[in-house]
Amino acid sequence: MKMTENATVGEKRSGRNEKRSKEPLLHITKRTDIPLSRAIIIRAVAVVSALVFGGIVTIFLTGDNPISIYVTIFEGAFGNSTRIWFTFQQIAILLCISLAVTPAFKMRFWNIGAEGQVLIGCLATAMCMFLLGDIMPTWLLILTMTVASIAAGIIWGVIPAVFKANWGTNETLFTLMMNYVAIQLIECFLKIADKSGSNTVGPDKLNNGWLPNLFGQQYLLNIVIVAVLTAVMYIYLKYTKQGYEISVVGESVNTAKYIGINVKKVIIRTMALSGAVCGLAGLLLVGGTSHSIDSNLADNRGFTAIMVSWLAKFNPIMMIFTTFLIVFLERGADEISSKFGLNSSFSDILTGIILFFIIGSEFFVQYQVHVNKNHRIFAKTRKER
C-alpha cells in the first residue's frame, strides 16, 4: 500500500487573479525497513523525553522535585517485598485479561466486553463461595468455582458471538452492553448477600474456597497460572490449526470462506475461548486475591487489556512487557498521589504523558518525516483566456 501523504503546511491567500501558495513543508513517508537498533533508540528517546517533559510539568504544577517524584513512582511499585508481590499480582491479572481479548482481536472481533466477562466470572466464583462454602470440602469447592467461573465467562462471550455469526449484529455495542448487565447482576447479588447495604461482600462472608498459597506466598499461584497461560496462548495462536484459522478470519472473511473455513464456527469458538480466559481471570481475582466482590472489582482492566494487546501487536510474549509498563505506572502514580498529597488527577496526568510519548514513538518507528528544505513560495497568476 502506498502510504505517502503530503501534509500541506502553509497558508493560501486567494485573490481573484493572484494566489500565493507554499510548497508543503513536511513530507511524511512510510518506512519499509528499520534497523532494530534505530527502533530501540527512537523508543528510548521517547521514554527519556516523557520523563523530562513530565518533570517540567511537575515543577510547573506542584513545585515538587521531579526526581524525588520519579523515585517515589519506582518505590511505589518495587519499594519492598509486599509491594513487589502485589505489583506482580496486578501484572498477572491484567496480563490474563489481555491474553483473553487477544484471540478475538486477532480475529478482528471487537470484543470490548472483557470487563463484563471478567465480572461475571467473579460473580460465579463469589456465588459458589457464598452458597456452597459451608457444605463442600475445599477441593471440591475450588473445582466447582473454577468450572462455574469459566462457564460464566464462556456464556458471556458466546452470546454476542452467536448473534454476530448468525445475524451480523454489531459486536462492539453488544459486548459493551453485556458489561452493564454483568454489573447489575453483581449489584443484585450484593443486595441479597449483604443486607447491611454495604457495596461489597467481603472475606467474612466469602471465607471458604480461597485458592491455596504456594510456598507461603498468596499471589504466587496466580502468577504461575498466568505464566503458563501466556506460553499456552503463544503456542495456540502461532502453531495450532485453530490459531491459524483465527488469523485467516481476521485477515479476510472472504479468504476464509474461499478455503472452506466455517467462519461462524470460528467466531463462536474463539469468543468462547476469550470468555473462558476472562472467567478464569474472575476466579483469580475473587478466589486468589481479594476474597471479596464488588461491582468495580475488574477496575476497567477489561478495557486496559485491549490497549495492552494492541500495543504488543497481539504477541503474548510482548504483552508481558506492555502489562508491566502499565501496571508499573499505575502503581507508582498511586504512590505519589498519597505520598506527596497530590490530587489523584496529577498521577493520571503523569501516566498520560508517559503513555502519550511511548505510543507516539511508534509513529516515528513506522514513518519518516522529511522537512522540505527549500520551502519555496510562489506567486500564482492566471492568464486570462
Binding site: M1, K2, K241, V248, E251, G260
Partner: protein, 512 residues
C-alpha cells in the same frame, strides 16, 4: 495561440518510502495533440499524472504550463490551470443526475442554475459528439455513459489538458472506437490529451506521439507514425519480448463440468445470473468474455461453492472413475472432501485468494493446513512448496517469510496461481489472472494455463482483453447482464462479434 508547450515536466521525481515511483522524468505535451503514456504496471504512469492533477506533490522537479512555472498542490490548483483528470475509478454520486454530478463542487460566484448548466452541457456534447442525457441518473447509466459524464465534467470546468487513466479498460471495442472519435475532435479543437493505456494497438490508433516509461524512469517520446508494436514493447520492457501465445488444438477432450440453467440473485434480491448453461471439457480453455460486472465473478463463485444458487445444476465428471457428482449448493470444504480437485484464482487476490499480512509459507498452507490429525500446523511442506514456487515462477521476494502484501502485483499473482496449480487440479478457474500484471508476468500466466490445458485440466479463463481471449482460448462464452449471449469458437470469430454479443441484452429485452 499560447507560448511553449501545453505542459512541460522537468526532472520530476517522487519517492514512496525507499521506492522511487518516478525518477528524473522530463516530458512535454504540445497544444492540440494526443500523447499516449505507455508503460507497464508499476512503471509510474499514474503517479506522474497524479502529480500533474494535484493529488501528489513532487519531491523534486518543475512543472510548466504554457511556459510558465507552476505549483500544483491540490486538485483545485490543477483545475485553476485547466488540467482535468478522468480517473480509472469513477468518482460520481450514483443518485444524482449527470448535470448534478457535473456541476457538483463548482463555486465560481455565479448564480447557480441547473437549467443553464444542462444547456451548457448539451452545448459541449454537441461540439465534441458526446451522447449524453443531462437528466439521467448515474445508477441508470452504463459504464461508458458514466465515463462520458466524467469527461464532460472536466471539460465543463474549462480543462484544456485532459488526462485519461486507462479509459478503454472498461469499454467494448465499439465504445472504444466512439471514444476515440470524440478524443480526435477535442484534439482538433486545440485541447491536449494524455491517455494512459497499455494496449498497444490503441496507442498506435489514437496517439500522435508516445511517451514511454519504464520502472519509474522516462525512456523516450516517439512519433506514433514511425513506431510499431515490436519497437514500443521493446522500449517499454527493455528487451525483446515474443508476443505469441501458444494456441495448441485441444485433443482428447472429455466433459468435465456441466452447468445447467443456473440462476442466482444477490443479497439485495437483484438477479445476477439467469439461466446459464454451458459445459467445460478437460483439455481445453474456455474463455468467458463480458463487460466487467456482468456476472462473471458470481458465476465462478457459484461453481466454487461460495454462493447459493436459486436454481439450476452443476455437475462434475470425475476424470478417472467417470462418476457424476452434484456440486450444487455444496460448501468449498464439501467439494474438496468429495475428491473434486477444483482450483480457483479469484479476481480479488489479496481479499479472497490470499491473506495479505501472512507470509508466503502461511499462504501456501491455506489449502492444506487441515492435513493430519494433530492440533498443530505443519509448516514443513508448505515451506518446501513456497521455495519451489518462488524459484520456478521467479517470484521476486526477499524471502519466503515476506508478507505477500509487500510483493508487487505480478508476484502476488504468481504465488496464488502457483499454489492453486500445485494441488494438481482437474478444473482450474481463473478470473482476470493478468489484470495489473506486467508483460513478462502475463506471459508466464498464459504459459501456466496452457500447461494445465495440455495436462487435461478443464480451464476456465475470465478475461477482459479480447485479443488475448482469442489467442489463448478454444471456445469463448460471452456473458451479458447475467445471461449467456453465445458460445463462440475462438478460432472462427472476431473481436467485433464478441463485442457485439457483450452488449446484447439477451433473448428478451425487459426494459424496452
Amino acid at each position: 495561440m499560447q507560448d511553449g508547450y501545453a505542459l512541460e515536466l522537468k526532472h520530476v521525481s517522487k519517492n514512496f518510502g525507499n521506492v522511487a515511483a518516478n525518477h528524473d522524468v522530463s516530458l512535454n505535451v504540445r497544444h492540440g495533440e494526443i500523447l499516449a503514456l505507455l508503460g507497464e504496471n508499476g512503471s509510474g504512469k499514474t503517479t506522474l499524472m497524479n502529480m500533474i492533477a494535484g493529488i501528489y506533490y513532487p519531491d523534486a522537479g518543475e512543472i510548466y504550463i504554457n511556459g510558465e512555472r507552476v505549483m500544483i498542490t491540490s486538485p483545485k490548483d490543477a483545475f485553476y490551470y485547466g488540467i482535468g483528470m478522468v480517473h480509472q475509478h469513477f468518482k460520481l454520486v450514483d443518485v444524482f443526475t449527470a448535470t448534478e454530478n457535473i456541476v457538483l463542487g463548482i463555486d465560481n460566484g455565479e448564480k447557480f442554475s441547473l437549467k443553464s448548466s444542462a444547456g451548457k452541457i448539451r452545448e459541449i456534447s454537441s461540439r465534441y459528439g458526446f451522447e449524453i442525457d443531462p437528466e439521467k441518473k448515474i445508477y441508470n447509466m452504463s459504464v461508458s455513459e458514466k465515463q462520458t459524464v466524467e469527461i464532460v465534467k472536466v471539460l465543463y470546468r474549462g480543462a484544456n489538458l485532459l488526462i485519461l487513466d486507462e479509459p478503454t479498460a472498461v469499454l467494448t471495442p465499439q465504445e472504444t472506437r466512439k471514444l476515440f472519435e470524440v478524443l480526435r475532435k477535442m484534439r482538433d479543437d486545440g485541447k491536449s490529451i494524455i491517455i494512459i493505456t497499455h494496449k498497444m494497438h490503441e496507442v498506435l490508433t489514437i496517439s500522435d506521439r508516445v511517451a514511454i516509461m519504464r520502472k519509474g524512469e522516462y525512456i523516450d517520446t516517439v512519433e506514433t507514425s514511425g513506431a510499431d508494436e515490436e519497437l514500443l514493447t521493446e522500449m517499454m520492457v527493455g528487451k525483446k519480448v515474443s508476443l505469441n501465445i501458444d494456441h495448441p488444438e485441444p485433443h482428447d477432450i472429455r466433459e468435465r463440468l456441466v452447468v445447467r440453467n443456473l440462476s442466482m440473485t444477490d443479497g439485495e434480491g437483484v438477479r445476477v445470473l439467469e439461466d446459464i448453461s454451458f459445459s467445460v471439457f478437460g483439455g481445453e480453455i474456455l474463455g468467458i468474455a463480458g463487460i466487467a460486472g456482468s456476472g462473471q465473478r458470481e458465476l465462478l463463485e457459484a461453481i466454487a461453492g461460495l454462493r447459493r444458487l436459486d436454481g439450476g445444476d452443476i455437475f462434475y465428471f470425475d476424470p478417472k472413475s467417470g462418476e457424476k457428482e452434484d456440486l450444487r449448493n455444496k460448501t468449498p470444504l464439501q467439494i474438496r472432501e468429495m475428491g473434486v480437485r477444483l482450483s480457483f484464482v479469484p479476481e480479488d487476490r489479496l481479499g479472497m485468494g490470499l491473506a495479505g499480512n501472512m507470509d508466503i509459507v502461511d499462504n501456501m498452507m491455506l489449502r492444506s493446513y487441515r492435513k493430519g490429525r494433530t492440533l498443530f500446523v505443519n509448516r514443513k511442506n508448505p515451506h518446501k512448496l513456497a521455495d519451489k514456487i518462488v524459484s520456478e515462477l521467479e517470484v521476486v521476494t526477499p524471502n519466503v517469510n515476506t508478507p505477500v502484501r509487500r510483493l508487487s502485483g505480478g508476484n502476488v499473482q504468481k504465488v496464488l496461481v502457483g499454489r492453486e496449480i500445485s494441488s494438481s487440479p482437474t478444473v482450474l478457474m481463473a478470473a482476470y489472472p493478468v489484470r495489473g500484471l506486467d508483460i513478462n508476468s502475463s506471459y508466464t500466466i498464459y504459459r501456466l494455463l496452457n500447461e494445465q490445458k495440455s495436462n487435461g485440466v478443464a480451464v476456465i479463463f475470465v478475461g477482459e482483453d479480447l485479443d488475448v481471449l482469442l489467442e489463448l482460448c478454444d471456445r469463448i462464452l460471452v456473458i451479458s447482464s447475467g445471461k449467456v449471449s453465445g458460445i463462440l469458437d475462438a478460432r472462427n470469430t472476431t473481436k467485433e462479434e464478441i463485442g457485439r454479443m457483450m452488449t446484447k441484452t439477451g433473448g428478451v429485452d425487459e426494459n424496452d
